[in-house]
Symmetry: C2
Subunit: 420 residues, 2 copies
């Protein structure tokens, strides 16, 4: 088997640990120099391949590559770009092959979520459909935790930890203020389709922390009457109440809570969030003073509070992707297989991309409590191992010392390609 | 000198380190058992004194009291309640003296900001004006960093660290997405009158991190045209831009940016935040895709990311307050005196409450860059020591193990007092 170069790219929304997977891919590829030459990273994801903007990772120092393990975001740049099917957009696939040929690329590692698994699947079919020998391996990543086959997705555990910790901290705060001031705190979290992240807010409470947390899931139609009654009862029993609302929470008619339907003085529709809507609704119905927060990117970028499990798994999946490639695999994704909850044990398995692409794993309904506003013991058992352990980055001058790569580009060999 | 009991209370918005001051007060009082008997903590601040709801801190375990050092929020409950002058509301001062007498209280430690210093000052005058012997010492606390005399206020350093780190992390995130998606990230932070917290966002950038951060201060009239031009130039030069906006940022006519002037379908005024207003303004004028976050309570409760300087100073000021009391002082506040920037050195000094109560320390104008959208080198030099060091709480099951006190109340000796 001759030595081939590898292409690696980051895709979709980034996370606090996707660079740990990159680190796993690059460091493991180096151990297989008999099969893998240079790892070229796509500048801004797959777009880097199409435009022949290839970052030569061998030009980065070993120290900087190791530093990816503790650096959030996508160090090579990511993109939101879903390739159409071969039939619909043959010109892009032709171009990919042209770039792969020009740079002797025989391995394709794609690090992303469901849409990206679909792109990876299409690339994996290039050998069969277009005669270009390539092995395409998908490396899972998504804070949404919605990929099938794998027990969980790198990126999710750290967001879950951030939301659980933040909800606990803010709840302690509100509890202190409730007597004369704020009685309700609302935190808006990510997860347009699946309530995994919102569910993590419920971990703020446990046997040592009697915190009244109400969770609003995208999976459950919003029932305003039941919700307000529950808020009122929590404030009456505990003096305060914390609410974790998924950005995807919707009314029975499908409209998101976040769509306020308001217009400014010029008649423009106003974009708000779900949190202020929920907070104002409570103020109006129950009169309780509120505060609200929207975590947005803070939650998925919070490498300072990453889960140790998450960082380890992100690295291990990057490593496993390379091992699968050198073992001759194509069109697969390494996956986390949970073998024990207590103590938590996991191993690496794998799935076929055909079973993964475009399949969304929703929260099982038995993870949501009967009233629709909390999580079950089974859900807690599932979530807790994923937030286990603290993986702190190094600090310099009071700030996390994240790595910024040089991102030196390989010399182009082809003519320019116009992106549509 | 006979043994007298002490009263301690937390006041105003809580912080991630106010309990560290409580820990300093309680542990130090124990060392002076020849002068100080029991420390009674007000349940929900000064209201606890008025209603005779006194928490007996001697009933808490030593372990739990030590745990206050790493527990955010106000463990005894806080309140927003400013006492009127003696002339206006003599009945409350009479009641305070009645409660102090009933429980042999000779020391009054009040842990709060500017309004609270005012209350503490009034209590300190009870000896002189009403003949009840009491020593009142103020322990400074406020995330707003706006108390005079002291170099900085406990609570601020940790918020500053949280905002600086969060801005850096979110900026790394946006930088990865900017090519095909989000180009502008807006983070709203606390500080209605003073821009200290917003200023900390600028620490996201440094010599190793070329991050384009724009800060909107409450001290600077919002100039939309200049602002939009700067955002555009940053996006053009760096591909993206991060904006840290203080909740107190206002238009030249004094209206807060956060007042959107919008109404919902029922004609109710909508409460939003400054962040969505700024984000939508950019989208409309420049067309850039945005994300926004509102940190709200998360920033001041984030004990998981507290600054080591801040925790040490919070404890030291509680300790110093007790030392001042046993030394016979009244109507004073221990303060941080900075003696060197590099290496950072500080010591404890003190100020008179008459010079502190109701005085707001604004950002010096030479801390704000000439264009009004950033900080100067002098400001950076001031801020950096305050975020120095990481003081991590202990974790259990992946979550910070914060302390919840028993809060056992002392038996009441007086008749009920009706709060107004």
């Amino acid at each position: 088997m001759s030595v081939k170069n590898a292409f690696y790219a980051q895709s979709g929304g980034v996370t606090s640990v996707i660079n740990a997977s990159a680190c796993g891919v690059i460091q493991t590829a180096k151990k297989h120099s008999d099969k893998i030459g240079t790892v070229y990273a796509g500048k801004n994801g797959i777009i880097g391949a199409l435009t022949e903007n290839l970052i030569d990772t061998s030009k980065e120092s070993d120290e900087d590559i190791a530093g990816l393990l503790h650096t959030p975001s996508g160090a090579f740049g990511s993109c939101r770009y879903k390739m159409k099917s071969l039939e619909e957009n043959k010109v892009e696939y032709d171009r990919l092959i042209e770039v792969f040929k020009a740079h002797n690329i025989g391995y394709f590692f794609y690090n992303g979520g469901g849409d990206s698994a679909d792109t990876c699947l299409k690339v994996s079919q290039l050998s069969e459909k277009m005669g270009y020998p390539i092995q395409a391996i998908h490396v899972p990543k998504t804070v949404d935790n919605d990929l099938p086959v794998t027990d969980n997705c790198p990126g999710f555990g750290s967001v879950a930890k951030y939301i659980a910790v933040s909800t606990r901290e803010a709840s302690y705060d509100v509890a202190s203020m409730a007597e004369t001031s704020t009685k309700v705190f609302v935190l808006e979290v990510m997860g347009r389709h699946a309530g995994w992240i919102a569910a993590a807010g419920a971990l703020a409470a446990d046997e040592d922390n009697d915190i009244p947390v109400i969770v609003l899931f995208p999976e459950i139609e919003f029932n305003q009457e039941k919700f307000l009654a529950l808020v009122d009862s929590k404030v009456k029993s505990h003096g305060y109440c914390s609410i974790v609302v998924s950005e995807g929470t919707a009314w029975p008619d499908g409209r998101f809570l976040a769509e306020q339907g308001t217009r400014d003085d010029f008649g423009h529709a106003q974009l708000g969030g779900a949190a202020p809507v929920v907070a104002n609704m409570i103020k109006e119905a129950l009169g309780y003073k509120f505060h609200w927060a929207v975590a947005d990117y803070l939650q998925r970028a919070a490498r300072h509070l990453a889960s140790q499990s998450d960082v380890e798994q992100a690295y291990a999946l990057g490593e496993a992707a390379v091992e699968m490639a050198v073992a001759g695999k194509n069109s697969v994704m390494p996956a986390i297989i949970r073998t024990s909850n207590n103590p938590y044990k996991w191993e690496i398995g794998s799935g076929n991309l055909a079973d993964i692409a475009n399949v969304e794993k929703m929260m099982p309904m038995d993870y949501i409590s009967e009233d629709g506003f909390g999580i079950t013991a089974a859900c807690r058992e599932y979530l807790l191992p994923l937030i286990e352990g603290e993986s702190y980055p190094p600090y310099k001058n009071g700030m996390p010392n994240y790595v910024t790569l040089k991102k030196e580009l390989v010399e182009k060999k082809l003519s320019e390609f116009k992106m549509k």
